[in-house]
Structure formats: C-alpha cells, structure tokens
Symmetry: C2
Subunit: 200 residues, 2 copies
Amino acid sequence: MFLSPLVTELVEALRVLPGVGPKSAQRMALHLLERNRGGGRKLAEVLARAMDNVRECRQCQTLSETEVCGICASRSRDRSLLCVVENPVDQLAIESSGSFRGVYFVLKGHLSPLDGIGPRELGIPALLERVRGGEVRELILATNPTVEGEATAHYLREALRDQPAIAVSRIAHGVPMGGELEFVDGNTLAHALAGRKALG
Amino acid sequence: MFLSPLVTELVEALRVLPGVGPKSAQRMALHLLERNRGGGRKLAEVLARAMDNVRECRQCQTLSETEVCGICASRSRDRSLLCVVENPVDQLAIESSGSFRGVYFVLKGHLSPLDGIGPRELGIPALLERVRGGEVRELILATNPTVEGEATAHYLREALRDQPAIAVSRIAHGVPMGGELEFVDGNTLAHALAGRKALG
C-alpha cells in the first residue's frame, strides 16, 4: 500500500460503513480528497454530532436526538394503535408506505436467547407497562416473518393474554402486491392460502 | 421522511460518497447509530483530519500530508525513470503491480480544453521543468488510453521534442494477460496487432 499514512487511515476508517470493501473505501477516500473536501468536512461534522447526540426516544425507543421523537410527540397520530417493529429501518419502511397513522414501539432487535437477548434487552417490560396503562386499544405485531421475529411476536401475544380488552394482531403475510405467483416461494404461498379471505 | 432531523442530516451528508444512493445512505446511518458509534466517531475524526491536512506532494503532486510524499522521499527509487499518470488512483494501480521502481508525476486529470483544463491546470509546466532539469532519463506516459489521455500523452511527447536525450515512452496497449481473445474488443485487438513484437 503506497498511499500516505493519513490517506490509508481514512480508507481503513471508511470500512466501518456497511457494504464498503477495500476498493470502494479507496475510491471514496480519493474522491473526497480530490473532488469534494467541503462535502467531506461537512460529513465529518454531521457524523460527529450525530454519534454524540442521537439517542433513543423515551417513549418508543426509536433513534432521536430529542427526548421524545417526532411521531410520539405528534398530536395527529392515533395513540390507541401501537405498532411493534424490530428496528428503526422497519419503522421507516412502514412509515414510508403512508398507510399507518398510529404510533410505534421499536424493539432493539428480536428475542435471541442464545445471544443473551431476552425481553429486558429489547425493552419489552416498558412496552407491556405502556400497553397495560390503558391508552392502547390495539397492538399490531410487525416483527419480521423470520423464526426469531415470529418467536418475539408469539412472546408478546402470550404476555398480553391477561389483557382481554386489548386486541393483538399480526401483519398479514402473503403474496406481495405486483408479484407473480410463479416467483413466490412455497412458504409464502402456504401463508397466502391459509390466510385467504372470503370475497363479499 | 420520518427520521429525526439529525439522522436525516446524516443520511444526506453520507450521499457525498461516490456510489451511495438514498437507500445505502440510510442503511449506513442506521448501522453506525445502532451498532457502531465508536467506528462512526473514529471515521468523523479521521475524515476531518484528512480533509484538513492532506495536500499535494511538492514534487509529484500526489496526495500526501507531508510536503514530499513517501515515494519521492524514498532513496530506493530510481529517480531517472519518471512515470506520468492522470491521478492518484492510477498511481496506486501501477504501484500495486509491484513492477515499477521509478518515481511518478501525478497530473490532476487530463487535458480538456472545453472544460478550461489546459497544461497549467495539470501542473505540466512543473513537470517539463523537472524533466529538463537533467535528472530524468526516461519519461513513461501512463495516461489512460482514452481520447483525452492519448491527447495528453501526445502533448507531452511534442513538448519534449527539444530534449533528444530523454527517452519518451508510452505504456503498451494490447490484450490483457489472462484474457481470452474472444472477449477482447476490436480496438484493443487492433492495438495488439500493430504493437506486435518479434520473438527471438
């Protein structure tokens, strides 16, 4: 490696970014140094500020630099409808669909006992306390349709058996809109058949 | 966009990186915030330091935080052999091949009169002065085999017509090693044929 020590250090540092290998890191470093020092400086400044100031929303655990995030603080959201997701990316996906006007609770992942991740690590006690508080009417479980996501959803469903007044639902699994049956996997098709709805 | 203002700002700032679109920027921001704050802080620090301290080697114009880069300062390099490349990435490619023990001169791109990039912008006066200084015995033109790269090489060749003592060469163009003729484009094949060498 002939690059100067500082440039080499920059290439190494850029590799913390997901999906960035040695070649891309090199290209990024040289691009910033040769063509966009202003952008590079700005990135350094915002990055330092974000790493130090972004924390978790006190109510829903999503990433936020304010104590309560924008969604939790909004007066136009239906606070009786609580959607549980695994992480901020999933929350963003649902929010981007524009089809949900309730509020969220962002677990910090899914239950994974072998990795030492139990209900406490995900913030589930706070979630249950909130649900039992009386404001929530329906809890929508939108964890991922993976083994761990399903187990997490199952755990939450069971934990709320003592609250018959609260409806607990799971997002529907089936054939994606715009997809073709030909290319949908068997497991998804099985769910789509089992979850069929009567047409009026 | 529902992400908090600071997270949104970070996603935007990450887009200065080449090849990073809105989706990847989002993934990078959330990855750093959720899983690697230490790496993010380190990146911010190195980035700020590199943007402020990396400048050009006084002798060869490559990126360097010292006044003279490691290669120009090295005593083990053959200073009579000067290889001209378009940018630090190309220099890195040649250096990585491990087949060159001379020194470099890094132009800042190629001649492009329509964009207002002439010899002065590339640092060519300094290059010519250095070549005429007497230390250089051979100048290897390793600009890219593009229209602009060829034009830049041609310009340098003509500019040194008054120095018969200095050998001016161009890197060979032809079929890449390990490649198959079947997949090599016609232009490259034409160069490979025209540049054929007699076997002993």
